[in-house]
Amino acid sequence: MCIMENIAVMEIIAGYVKDATFEVFESMVMMEIASGEPNYNGSKKIDSIISSMIGLAGDLKGMVVIHCPEEVAKKITSGMLGMEVDEVDADVKDALGEIANMVAGGLKVSLEGEGCNVELALPSTVIGRSIRMSSGVGSKRIMVPFNIPSGEFGVEMNYVMSSV
């Protein structure tokens, strides 16, 4: 039985988002990151140029989105590939898509520990300035900001509980 229905549980999910992101950055990007205060009301915006995302389906339907400004996206890709990256190219797109995939994979494991089974879709990326993203009416939205020396990025989780 999936118990992730209470609004207070958003804090627990935000904790899982943090854990999964720390794990991915430590093991795959070889980069130290610091997390900020999770935001639950949609007011926290990240000035991003590239967002990578992946859908979640199952007991919970949702989407995990990584929002990065240009410099941060290039630094993360450099860390992951072990080489300097100086433009937002296919490598950056694939690296951030893979990070979304791995963060969602970590979340999947944590949610399963709560009896909430989810499956992952495929990652995709959107590149552009002043892009608006929205998810279905009534979805819950968590944004966890993270910092690296070259700036701030955000990991967003939108979700609804599947109808029972």
């Binding site: 979640l56 989407m63 995709s124 990326t125 552009g128 892009i131 939108n158």
Partner: protein, 155 residues
């Protein structure tokens, strides 16, 4: 498992059906050369993830004018800006299409589940799935523009 051509045919039939029965709008398949435009300029994209036995993404890319016309038909009123109504309508079109694709890819749609419909909008953006996917993109013509339906599947 259906081949890509068969999936494309069913995807086209499904899009035509959704537009004629739910949105009351005639659509015709456009030329292939119109299928690959990226970046999208003044557009709104609706997308839904497919998870389970087949992993993928269903995306519908509408120029703003087309999205507003669709929303207007849905709601029976004039829509003159990209607002929440338009986001909901575009997300719902993606969701209906994804529901059909689920059935196309898997017998009675079992073993495949849909994620949450989401929208992306802006003056200029590039939308891409990861590099190594199977991709179907079909352009459709309506009275005030061309929109594209995209299906990305894990190989």
């Amino acid at each position: 498992m259906s081949g890509l051509e068969e999936i494309t045919d069913k995807l086209v039939a499904s899009t035509v059906e959704i537009f004629s029965s739910m949105i009351m709008m005639d659509v015709a398949v456009g030329n292939d050369s119109e299928a690959t435009i990226n970046p999208y300029l003044k557009c709104i994209t609706g997308m839904v993830g497919l998870a389970g036995k087949r992993k993928g993404i269903v995306a519908v890319h509408f120029p703003n004018e087309v999205a507003m016309a669709i929303t207007g038909n849905f709601l029976g009123m004039d829509v003159s800006e990209i607002n929440e109504d338009v986001q909901d309508a575009v997300g719902e079109v993606a969701n209906m299409l994804a529901g059909d694709i689920k059935t196309i890819l898997s017998d009675k749609g079992k073993d495949i589940e849909l994620s949450l419909p989401s929208t992306i909008s802006g003056d200029q953006y590039v939308f891409q799935a990861k590099s190594d996917t199977e991709r179907i993109t079909v352009p459709f013509i309506v009275s005030n523009g061309v929109f594209r339906v995209e299906l990305e599947l894990e190989k």
